[in-house]
């Protein structure tokens, strides 16, 4: 493909040498209690990727060498009836920035389809979209990504791979060991007035129909600040969840989103929850540090806020919750973490700098 036909995008990161614990709890089990992360935090195990969808499934990724320990610890705290699976030899591949653009997310997922991957998890951060897959498919994925995206820092997949540092050098570079008594964060960014869409969907449908649906949603000018897909234990059916944010000038685009989903995915029954709110939470080296999401979940539990969906990837925590719980959630997070005073960055997709979120 010519450079001009490809989408110009900032960057690509691969986190190799991972393990992935997939858990599926019986509906209604309180599987996202902070308890589940407590033993991992106590053992100083970092979660490189973590997703949760309300009442059911989670995907947790760690370094491969601690994968079995993480699996045992998660199992020890899991609700009765929970099924668990450990997948070793995984990688997390992220591209950025997506600018909340569904067409970039759709093109990313379409590249995964062409590389014939088996998805172990999919999630977004405020800037990146990430996938968990077997490290064996990593080369094929990167080749496909270069077919669809133009990365200004690298002319070819070969150049990209040659520029990657050996893992031990990377570890030497991340020498900063954060030891604050109170965890510092860059921002706690509230985002009210989202729609949350959810569906059970096959992995094939995510890779084909959903990718095309996203590309069509991009043509509507919709922004997608949040997306998560968690597999079932057989790896076939996924729980998919994404939130949409309309531009300030647009009316309710829910019917149009539903029409696009049904056009590309006639077999699914999408559910819409509206309005919901998002919290985007970001701090230094959050991707490399243990205990951050545990502290986050623990603080929300104190004010009885339960999350509808959660994704932790790259260096951010993104959560979706009921709109009426947003203020309590932001207040407790402001008290728990050392955060700059709120107000500077505007919530996503609010042209003109209007502050849409609460100002606790």
């Amino acid at each position: 493909m010519e450079t001009s036909d490809r989408i110009r995008i900032g960057g690509l990161k691969i986190l190799e040498g991972g393990a992935c614990v997939v858990s599926s709890s019986p509906l209604g089990a309180n599987c996202l209690s902070a308890d589940i992360c407590a033993p991992l935090a106590q053992k100083k195990i970092n979660l490189t990727f973590f997703t949760h969808l309300s009442g059911d499934r989670q995907v947790m990724c760690t370094a491969d060498e601690v994968g079995e320990t993480a699996f045992t610890l998660v199992k020890s705290r899991a609700a009765p009836g929970t099924e668990l699976r450990l997948q070793r030899g995984t990688a997390v591949i992220s591209v950025y920035p997506h600018d909340k653009g569904p067409e970039i997310m759709g093109t990313f997922i379409r590249s995964l389809a062409r590389a014939r991957v088996v998805l172990h998890g999919l999630a977004s951060s405020p800037s990146a979209i990430s996938v968990v897959l077997s490290a064996r498919r990593e080369k094929a994925v990167v080749e496909q990504l270069f077919e669809h995206f133009h990365f200004p820092a690298f002319a070819s997949p070969q150049e990209f791979f040659e520029a990657q540092l050996p893992p031990e050098e990377l570890v030497q570079q991340v020498v900063a060991t954060y030891q604050e008594k109170v965890i510092k964060v860059y921002w706690i960014l509230p985002q009210p007035d989202l729609d949350l869409w959810g569906a059970t969907i096959s992995s094939t449908a995510i890779l084909e129909g959903f990718a095309h649906a996203l590309i069509d949603m991009g043509k509507l000018g919709l922004k997608i600040p949040f997306i998560v897909a968690n597999p079932g234990l057989g790896g076939r059916d996924f729980l998919l969840s994404f939130s949409t944010l309309k531009a300030a000038s647009q009316g309710d685009q829910g019917p149009e989103v539903r029409r696009i989903l049904q056009w590309h995915l006639p077999e699914i029954r999408p559910m819409r929850l509206t309005p919901v709110a998002g919290i985007f939470f970001h701090g230094p080296h959050f991707g490399d540090r243990y205990g951050v999401v545990y502290t986050f979940l623990q603080s929300l539990a104190r004010v009885r806020v339960s999350l509808l969906a959660l994704s932790c990837t790259v260096s951010s925590v993104s959560a979706v919750l009921k709109q009426q719980e947003l203020e309590a959630a932001v207040q407790v997070l402001q008290k728990t973490f050392a955060a700059p005073s709120p107000g500077a960055p505007r919530p996503f997709g609010r042209p003109g700098g209007g502050a849409g979120g609460p100002r606790p």
Binding site: S125, P152, V175, Y178, W187, G283, V314, P345, G353
Partner: protein, 126 residues
């Protein structure tokens, strides 16, 4: 009058997103790059009015890029704000303010970034 152009260079894409939101909300035009090499290329293509530069980055770190810019007559006038993860929270880092001063950066802001401090620093330099 056209908006001042600020280039942000950091390997943390979520931080680049956050900092660009802050600066765009203050009326700046913002460019983004994700490592020192890409940052250097972006500067060649379009000279920024100010540069917000992370220190710890793969391929080429912020000190190296800053040193190169200050050694080149064509780019030494670009004001540089270094984002440094040094201080009480990171006692084991090998990066230091002394090294930053040696490469002649105009300002230093410790991470995590405080929006008001960052905007103040950029405004002071423009």
């Amino acid at each position: 009058m056209s908006a001042k152009y600020v280039l942000i260079v950091d390997d943390d894409p979520d931080l680049v997103e956050t900092v660009s939101m802050i600066l765009e909300s203050k009326g700046y035009e913002v460019g983004k790059a994700y490592d020192g090499i890409e940052g250097g290329e972006a500067i060649k293509k379009r000279r920024p009015d100010a540069l917000v530069l992370d220190v710890m980055m793969p391929r080429k770190n912020g000190y190296q890029l800053c040193k190169e810019l200050k050694a080149d007559q064509a780019t030494r006038g670009i004001p540089v704000v270094l984002l440094t993860a040094v201080g009480e929270a990171v006692p084991t880092t090998t990066y230091s303010h002394a090294e930053g001063m040696a490469v002649e950066a105009e300002d230093f802001i410790p991470k995590p970034v405080d929006a008001a401090t960052l905007v103040e620093a950029v405004e002071r330099l423009l």
